[in-house]
Each structure stands twice: as structure tokens, then as C-alpha cells.
């Protein structure tokens, strides 16, 4: 007996997350988390194989999001391909009714989404600087020789967080080293770093935004208890970390898939056979005019199934995913 589920896929720079939502209750039935490691297609196939092996799910709809959403959409036969801002908002609204502010911090980017009456009214993403994203915390944890999982727990022990410059990770790092050499405790330094990251986030991404409760904190960095406490202190409000904070994008994609299926009927999912197929991506530079577009062809078992990248459109596939970014 196989249970009907919606599949949500979030292929990001660092991790690829798959979520299965029960088609009736829309609760998370299963989730798979794998590192992307620069090979989105292979990673996706591996993650799908994990699900296929369990042999207990029937996929009735597929949604993709994340920076490789278009690629994942083509490989899987997605019913909806959506940007991650919308996907995160949909997921947060689903798990936390009445949310008005979403703080999302991932490996490479951070965003803030403002909602009013259940609709996105404003959003911001980090622009010119990656300070305050997961990668920096990862790097500092490694430098201090502590596992990233323990970062938050240690930071919570702090009684007097030290002041660390948050504007730029280069300044932050030299400040941290300085404080460490003066003999401040590890807990105080880590807590100080959390405060600095939060200050940086609020002044850059949150600039000019009206932050109202409920506030939901999601993305990989939400695992860090120290960051959550720093946000609560800075905002003077409760910050909710949802149970599945690390796969909210994928949950959003699955919810959007369920919405699309309700409207359009049958899924376009290619089936679990995709784990067996051989995919190649082949890129070339078109020389037909001075634009010299970089074209990418996605080849499945020797046949081009999608192509994108041309400005004039002549090499684009007829597939609905072929357009610039596949809006939908």
C-alpha cells in the first residue's frame, strides 16, 4: 500500500532538501537532506533513490525551489517551479498562522519577508555582502575548533557577551581574535558573535522594515539557539523556530504543488525512473551574434530535454521550463 504525497524539492547552493507532505493532512511525512556538493543533478538522483527505496510513497505532485529550481523542475517533471522567497512564505504561513515577519538565514544568503494579512507585502535579500550567513558561522566554529552543532548551546551559557564588529566578516574575525587573546571565555565570544550577526542582519536586510510579531526564524542557521536568543534580545519579542525549520523551502514547494494539482489535475512527475537515467549537461557559447550567450543543454539518455541561456530564444526548448528562469 502506498500513500499519496506531494514532493517538495529545494536545491540550494549548500544542501538539497526533499520533503514529502501527506496529500490529505499536508503534514511532513518524510524528509531527506543531502549536501549538494556542486552536483545538483547527481545529488537529486541520489536523494530520489533514497525515497524510491522505501517504496511506500506515491507522488501525486511535485514542486521545486532554490537556486537550481529550473534544473530540478526539468529533471523531475515538476508541476510548479517557484522562487525561494515565495516558497518560504507559503511554508511559514502554513505552519504558523498569522506570521508577519520571516527571518530566513541559509548558507549563502539571508532574507527577510514581511507579510500582512497572509500576503507578502515586502521582502529583502542580502545584496553586496555575505556577512551573517551560515557559511561564516561555520567557518568561525571550525576556526575555534568546535562542532557547529554545539555553537548555539555554548553561546547560551554566556553571561556577558563581548562586543564584536558586525559590519563585515573580516572586521568581525579580527575583533574575535583580539577578544580571545585578551582571555574572554568562548561562550562570551560566541554569544557576542551572534549579537553581531543579528545587528548586521537587522541593519542590512531589515533596513527600513517594520518587524511585527509573529516572527518566524527559519533556514539552517535557525538551529543555532544562540542566534535565536540574540534575535529575541534585539527585537524584544518572541522568535518562533518551526519544527522543520531546515526544510521550509521544500515544504513551501510541496504546498504550492498541492495548490497547482488542485487546480490542474494530474501531475507531470516523470516517475522514479529518473534515478536510473543518465543526465549530462552540456554548455556552449553561441557564436551567431555578438551577445555570445552561454547556452546550457540538459541531455537525458542522449536526448536534449531542455535548453536555456539564449537571449534571443532560438535555442530555447519548447518545454515550459525553457524560459528565462521559468517564472510560473
Amino acid at each position: 500500500m502506498t500513500a499519496p504525497v506531494y514532493l517538495g524539492v529545494d536545491v540550494g547552493s549548500v544542501s538539497t532538501n526533499l520533503v514529502l507532505l501527506d496529500a490529505h493532512s499536508l503534514e511532513v511525512a518524510d524528509k531527506v537532506y543531502v549536501r549538494t556538493q556542486g552536483q545538483p543533478i547527481r545529488t537529486l538522483q541520489r536523494a530520489m533513490a533514497k525515497i524510491a527505496r522505501k517504496n511506500q510513497w506515491q507522488i501525486v505532485g511535485v514542486g521545486t525551489t532554490g537556486s537550481a529550481r529550473q534544473l530540478a523542475g526539468v529533471i523531475l517533471g515538476a508541476d510548479v517551479v517557484k522562487n525561494e522567497i515565495t516558497a518560504h512564505a507559503v511554508a511559514a504561513l502554513h505552519v504558523e498562522k498569522g506570521v508577519q515577519t520571516i527571518i530566513e538565514i541559509g548558507g549563502q544568503d539571508s532574507k527577510m519577508i514581511i507579510l500582512r494579512d497572509g500576503v507578502v507585502s515586502d521582502f529583502a535579500m542580502n545584496t553586496v555582502c555575505a556577512a551573517g550567513t551560515g557559511s561564516f558561522l561555520d567557518q568561525q566554529a571550525a576556526r575555534l575548533g568546535i562542532p557547529i552543532q554545539d555553537f548555539g548551546r555554548i553561546a547560551l551559557r554566556s553571561r556577558h557577551p563581548v562586543r564584536i564588529a558586525g559590519r563585515c566578516t573580516v572586521f568581525a574575525e579580527s575583533d574575535m581574535i583580539h577578544k580571545q587573546q585578551l582571555g574572554h571565555s568562548l561562550a562570551d565570544i560566541l554569544a557576542g558573535l551572534c549579537d553581531a550577526m543579528v545587528r548586521n542582519y537587522l541593519t542590512n536586510v531589515g533596513k527600513g522594515k517594520e518587524i511585527r510579531p509573529k516572527i518566524v526564524f527559519q533556514g539552517g542557521v535557525a538551529a543555532n539557539q544562540g542566534m535565536r536568543r540574540a534575535f529575541e534580545a534585539a527585537l524584544n519579542a518572541e522568535v518562533i523556530v518551526p519544527r522543520h525549520f531546515d526544510v521550509m523551502g521544500a515544504i513551501g514547494a510541496a504546498l504550492l504543488a498541492s495548490e497547482t494539482i488542485c487546480r490542474e489535475g494530474a501531475t507531470r512527475f516523470h516517475g522514479f525512473e529518473i534515478t536510473e537515467s543518465v543526465y549530462q549537461n552540456h554548455s556552449w557559447e553561441c557564436q551567431d551574434c555578438s551577445n555570445q550567450c552561454e547556452i546550457v543543454d540538459i541531455v537525458k539518455d542522449g536526448r536534449i530535454i531542455a535548453s536555456w541561456g539564449s537571449r534571443c530564444g532560438k535555442t530555447d526548448s519548447s518545454s515550459e521550463y525553457g524560459m528565462l528562469g521559468a517564472g510560473n
Partner: protein
């Protein structure tokens, strides 16, 4: 004398018409590309804005093709553009490129210099050729903008994706080889009809978004990562608020005669900004206010990193957005050519606008929605 000049969108078509009529040898640099950007950033000051860097790249690519004279605009005012001609010339000298510069100053700001620079141009071809060249250049500029405007209208409604862009590009190339005023007008009419034939009659009424901001980043598709096209494919009708035809009419012709004032801009921006802060800073604020009143769904504000006038506007626009209930997305462009993040922001913005347009909450018993 072999003249080259920096690109700004399709402006080269008008410059080509004028200078070839004056019998100058003209070297049109290749369209701005990643190579142009690489060359430009390598030799430009780090914190200067993208228009200068791409301009340096264009000059270097023009010089490679044999150019010995550069054509550039001058000017005064709070925006740094006014001294870019001098700066670019210095950069090129330092690289050992012995290139002469013709700098076109605003006649009102420095008439003597303007005269001294315009005289060699007149001498080259005679007054009659200059008059004809100016007429052709003007007609072509008008035609280019009309074609582009039509493409903005057609893209979100077209039956076959990217068809309008293909027709537009072919029309622009035909326009380059048409050299009578009558011919230009006829071609423009025909091609606009041709573009409108691409409309799918059953297409939904698209969202309408106004693009405000710094003139170069609005007009140069390489700098704005094809912003207008991307929006078109996402089903958005774009209104480009910057028009060179209008700008030349207002700031060159009327203002030289003392007939133009920016009064309507100041009236629209009242309460937010009371003075010209250079570039298009005041325009960005005033246009946003004006478009909010005209039923536009949203505004995209585009600026190069470190652009002072537009940073002023960027800080004011969130207030306009709240007061007039119109979403505004500010996009800062710089050297990054990573398109994914750019596309994500545009898609999310278009989602925001369309969900808003639907009244936001859609309750359907079987389907989940946003709340």
C-alpha cells in the same frame, strides 16, 4: 579621425546616423559583454560606478579596432558623470593609449567649450550635412524608443515566447540601414504593426510595472541583466520612465532656450525631496509618486552600486511605498553577472504583485492558499 564612443542601449544607432552623415570614420565598439566588464574593472577605480567601468571597457575595445578619438558627454552637477570623460581619458593615457577626446558639454553650462567642440564637427561635413545628420539621428532615436515601447507592450502578451525580442532586434538592424526620414518613419510604423501581430488575443491583462532609476542602468541591458526582457517574460508590461528623446527635448533644447523647468517633478516629489540631487534622483521619487496615482502595480528602482543621487532616492522610496501603497523593489547592479539571485528577486516581486492584485486571500475549500 576614427571615432569610438561608449554604449548605452541602442543609442549607438542615432550616433551612427549623425557621424556617418558628417563623413567621420566610425568604430562602433562591440556590444558590452563580460569582456568589456573585465577590461573596464581592471583599469578603473574600484569604488566608481558601473557606467564608468563599462565605458572604459567600450573605449578599450574600440581602440583595439583602430579608433583614435573618443566621443563622450561632459556636464556638471552632483553626479560624477560630468567628470567621467576626463577620468576615462586619464585612464587611457596611463595605459599608453594616445586617444583624443571630444567632450560634448551642455551648451548652457559652458557655451564656449561647447562651441569649440562642436565646430570641428561642423567643419568636417558642413552645416547642411550636420542638419541632415541631426535630423536622421533624431528620427532614429524616436523610432528606437517607439519600437522598444511597443516590444514592452507586446512581450507579456505574445503568443510565442521571445518572438517580440527577435522581431525587435531585426527591426533595429533594418533601422540602421535606413537613411531617409520618410523611410525611417515607414519602417517604424511597419515594424510596430509587425510586433503587435504577435499578441495573443486571449492573453490575460498583464501586471504593469514602472522602471525608475539611473539612466544608464535603465537603458543598457548588459548592465541591468536584461531587466525589461525578464519582466516581460514574467508577464509584466514595463513602462520605462526614462526616455532619451524626452531628456534631450527637455534638458538640451528647451532648457537651453530657458523654457524647461523641473517644476512638475518638484511638485510630485513634494514632501519627500525638494531639490535636484543630481542624475535622476529627483525623477525617481517624482515618477514613483506619479505612477502610483496612475494605477501601476509596482515600481522597480534600479541603480549602480555607489550612485549618490539614486542612493538618496533609495532611502526615500520606502516612505513613498507606504504612503501610496505601491510596492517598490530597489535593485543595485554592479560587477556581478550571477543572474540567479537577480531572477529570484524579480520572480518574488512579481508573485507579490500578482497575489496582491488577486486581493491576496484566496480561500478554496480543497486547496491551500497563503493563509
Amino acid at each position: 579621425m576614427k571615432i569610438t564612443f561608449p554604449h548605452m542601449g541602442n543609442l549607438y544607432i542615432a550616433i551612427e546616423a549623425l557621424l556617418s552623415e558628417l563623413k567621420f570614420d566610425l568604430i562602433i565598439p562591440p556590444p558590452s559583454s563580460k569582456r568589456t566588464l573585465t577590461l573596464g574593472t581592471k583599469y578603473s577605480p574600484e569604488t566608481i560606478c558601473l557606467p564608468l567601468k563599462l565605458g572604459v571597457g567600450n573605449f578599450l575595445e574600440g581602440i583595439e579596432l583602430g579608433a583614435d578619438t573618443g566621443l563622450m558627454v561632459g556636464g556638471r552637477g552632483p553626479c560624477r558623470l560630468g567628470y567621467y570623460a576626463a577620468l576615462q581619458q586619464e585612464i587611457l593615457y596611463d595605459l599608453g593609449k594616445e586617444i583624443e577626446f571630444i567632450v560634448l558639454d551642455h551648451p548652457k553650462e559652458d557655451f564656449v567649450r561647447f562651441k569649440s567642440q562642436i565646430i570641428p564637427l561642423i567643419k568636417a561635413g558642413g552645416v547642411k550635412a550636420l542638419a541632415k545628420g541631426l535630423a536622421l539621428a533624431w528620427e532614429k532615436l524616436v523610432a528606437v524608443e517607439k519600437l522598444e515601447r511597443t516590444a514592452h507592450y507586446v512581450r507579456p502578451r505574445e503568443a510565442r515566447p521571445k518572438a517580440a525580442t527577435q522581431v525587435l532586434n531585426r527591426a533595429l538592424q533594418k533601422l540602421r540601414h535606413t537613411n531617409t526620414v520618410g523611410g525611417i518613419r515607414k519602417l517604424c510604423r511597419q515594424e510596430c504593426d509587425h510586433l503587435r501581430d504577435l499578441i495573443d488575443r486571449n492573453a490575460q491583462e498583464p501586471l504593469k510595472v514602472g522602471v525608475v532609476g539611473e539612466i544608464y542602468t535603465i537603458l543598457e541591458p548588459f548592465a541591468n541583466l536584461d531587466l525589461e526582457e525578464r519582466l516581460g517574460y514574467l508577464g509584466v508590461e514595463v513602462l520605462r520612465t526614462v526616455s532619451l528623446v524626452q531628456w534631450l527635448k527637455n534638458n538640451l533644447i528647451l532648457s537651453s532656450l530657458g523654457l524647461y523647468s523641473n517644476r512638475w517633478l518638484r511638485i510630485n516629489a513634494r514632501g519627500y525631496l525638494h531639490a535636484s540631487v543630481g542624475g535622476h534622483g529627483l525623477e525617481s521619487v517624482a515618477r514613483t509618486v506619479a505612477l502610483a496615482g496612475q494605477g501601476y502595480d509596482g515600481i522597480i528602482h534600479i541603480l549602480p552600486f555607489t550612485c549618490m543621487p539614486e542612493i538618496v532616492a533609495q532611502c526615500i522610496l520606502p516612505n513613498v511605498s507606504v504612503d501610496y501603497q505601491i510596492p517598490v523593489l530597489s535593485l543595485v547592479v554592479d560587477e556581478h553577472t550571477g543572474e540567479t539571485g537577480f531572477q529570484t528577486r524579480l520572480e518574488a516581486f512579481v508573485d507579490l504583485l500578482s497575489r496582491r492584485g488577486q486581493g491576496g486571500l484566496q480561500h478554496d475549500s480543497a486547496c491551500i492558499s497563503w493563509s
